[in-house]
């Protein structure tokens, strides 16, 4: 059962990188994007459904692998950077059309997206015991992959050309490599089976609903005119 829950954790983290990766990539691309309304409009309907993968991953960490939570406090600065950047990026999306000037919030979206990428570099490198400069480099690598992915996503969504599948898989690699390396340690630190049994029984019936809701988002917003809420 520990392995099953580790699989769930890995799936959620990888899914977050593959999905939120293009949102963040488009955020990074904004300064060089001519039609920012359309670019943000393209990712808009996906953001809420994408970012929630990481919240779910954190839930699995707390519920199934509570002893691994020290990973967060051990990388305190990186996690604070991740959260503040994430919040700033989201605020940029919600407020862009509504408060002050659009340019102000667009810069915050880009800065927030960059902060999230760097924070991931620092966090993942920190977990693997690498130094701060290496973490920054790793963050830049993640940012580069996300930019590529965001670019592919916009091509696919706005002109119907190509597919973001390949870049999505690539975007998940920087998370999967360290996760695979830590698999043994994480699984060895799982919650006792009483806890895991309860979690499994409670969550299993909802898995089809969760998958269905996500697929519905892609079916509903993968084509057609670009909505203009964000």
């Amino acid at each position: 059962m520990e392995i099953l829950w580790f699989g769930a954790l890995a799936l959620l983290v990888a899914g977050y990188f593959a999905l939120e990766g293009f949102d963040l990539g488009v955020g990074l691309l904004l300064p060089v994007t001519a039609d920012r309304d359309r670019a943000i409009g393209a990712v808009g309907p996906f953001v809420l459904a994408n970012e929630v993968w990481l919240i779910a991953a954190a839930g699995v960490l707390f519920g199934a692998f509570p002893a691994c939570e020290y990973a967060l406090s051990a990388n305190y600065t990186a996690v604070v950077l991740l959260l503040v950047s994430w919040v700033v990026r989201d605020a940029g999306l919600w407020f862009r059309r509504r408060l002050f000037t659009r340019a102000f919030w667009e810069w915050l979206i880009t800065l927030g997206s960059l902060g999230v990428c760097l924070a991931w570099g620092l966090l993942l490198a920190g977990l693997a015991g690498f130094s701060f400069p290496f973490g920054l480099l790793y963050g830049l690598l993640i940012a580069a992959l996300f930019v590529m992915h965001g670019r592919r996503f916009l091509d696919w969504r706005l002109t119907g050309v190509g597919t973001p599948l390949v870049t999505g898989a690539l975007a998940a690699v920087p998370a999967l490599v360290p996760l695979a390396g830590m698999a043994g340690a994480v699984i060895g630190n799982a919650a006792p089976s009483a806890t895991l049994t309860v979690l499994t029984f409670m969550v299993l019936p909802f898995v089809p609903v969760m998958a269905g809701a996500q697929i519905w988002v892609w079916k509903a917003f993968g084509k057609g005119p670009v909505p203009a809420y964000f």
């Binding site: 809420l48 919040v87 009483a194 509903a220 203009a228």
Partner: protein, 388 residues
């Protein structure tokens, strides 16, 4: 302030900010769902405008609920790893269930609702706002399960120096939960009712063009506030039994908790009286102009009561993180430095406070401008030529 004080203050401020937005979400979600259902049945412009206007306020409020919630979730891992170390095997379960089977769906369905206008089939679109409402209530349920465990660690046994899950059912039938959950949900309805009343009264008083829409909204707000206050007071008094059965001295030697409790009850009776008087004159209230400024004036009170309620509940738990098991001081992350907590305090409290202010500015602007300028559910511009 030392590290412990800062970590506590950080949690208290971000938690209070979070709840200010959450409590309105809980109250508005069912109201918007009802309005949308009515619109789907009648198809009138009035119902459409009403759904979109209140929906826009709901969604704008929701934005801050999400970002403050993100920070809340991760704070356990950052500053309170002693809690996870001691009771993570039990306490982690409701938090995990909240994220997986409630919030994951809530956020996904909310995206479908916001962006689904003119795109999803009519009744499926209505279904998404009901699903958002149900999952929001499910979220509240699991969070209250987790919080109640801190008040009274039911369902867990000591195993060496940690707690282990023993009886999951006992977690769900915790005496600290049974009356607190309906109390919180009716606090949400109270807040939702007073906000809808307040904004409607503003437009009625100003004699703006949407008199019918706001007359109807005012009546809906009055009825909601009436039901909400009756229930919040009822379940409030019903809480004393179970709470004092597991935390007998909760309010006796904790002055701040007792103060919060006292003022909440005072406000509760005041709000109940207001709602009761209004429900008697609900038929005429939209036309009685002298009432409207008064209604606007009392809008913040239920928010104040809700925060006082949390002060009562959480200050009443001190100095325990988990009642009579784990002290707050012992739950602090070992080795947390002054520099670290100062950094996160500045980042979280600073950024979230600024954003909360910005969001309230925006909400009051949406209210002021009225249903004519609502982005939510706008007809999309005709598709431009495919250029990128």
């Amino acid at each position: 302030m030392d590290v412990l004080d800062l970590a506590r203050l950080q949690f208290a401020v971000t938690g209070s900010l979070h709840f200010l937005f959450v409590v309105l979400t809980l109250g508005l979600a069912p109201l918007v769902a009802i309005m949308h259902t009515r619109y789907a049945r009648t198809g009138t412009t009035l119902d459409e405008r009403m759904t979109r206007f209140w929906g826009q306020i709901y969604v704008t409020n929701y934005a801050l609920g999400i970002v403050t919630g993100i920070v809340m979730e991760f704070q356990f891992g950052l500053s309170w790893s002693g809690l996870t170390h001691y009771a993570g095997d039990v306490f982690g379960a409701p938090l995990a269930l909240e994220t997986l089977i409630a919030f994951f769906l809530e956020s996904t369905f909310l995206g479908l609702w916001i962006f689904g206008w003119h795109r999803l089939p009519k009744w499926l679109h209505v279904a998404t706002i009901w699903l958002v409402t149900i999952t929001a209530y499910a979220s509240a349920f699991w969070i209250m399960v987790a919080n109640s465990f801190l008040q009274h660690p039911a369902g867990a046994v000591r195993d060496g120096d940690v707690l282990r899950l023993d009886d999951f059912g006992a977690l769900l039938t915790n005496p600290s939960l049974s009356m607190a959950l309906p109390h919180v949900l009716s606090a949400g309805l109270t807040v939702g009712g007073f906000v809808v009343m307040g904004a409607s009264a503003y437009h009625l008083f100003r004699k703006t063009s949407d008199q019918e829409l706001f007359s109807r909204s005012l009546r809906m707000g009055i009825w909601t506030a009436f039901v909400g206050t009756m229930m919040v007071v009822g379940f409030g008094f019903a809480q004393f039994g179970p709470v004092t059965s597991v935390q007998p001295d909760k309010f006796t030697d904790r002055p701040l908790a007792a103060l919060g409790l006292g003022f909440m009850i005072l406000l509760g009776h005041l709000l109940q009286l207001i709602a009761l008087l209004l429900v008697v004159v609900v038929k005429w209230a939209p036309r009685w102009r002298f009432l409207h400024p008064l209604i606007v004036l009392v809008t913040p009170l239920p928010f104040v009561a809700a925060i006082l309620g949390w002060i009562a509940r959480e200050e009443g738990r001190q100095p325990w993180m988990i009642w009579e098991r784990l002290k707050v001081a012992d739950a602090l992350t070992p080795g947390l430095t002054q520099a670290q907590i100062t950094l996160s305090f500045a980042g979280f409290v600073g950024v979230l406070t600024l954003l909360a202010v910005a969001d309230y500015v925006l909400i009051s602007r949406i209210v002021r401008r009225g249903p004519d300028e609502i982005a939510l559910g706008e007809k999309p511009a005709p598709a431009p030529a495919l250029t990128f």
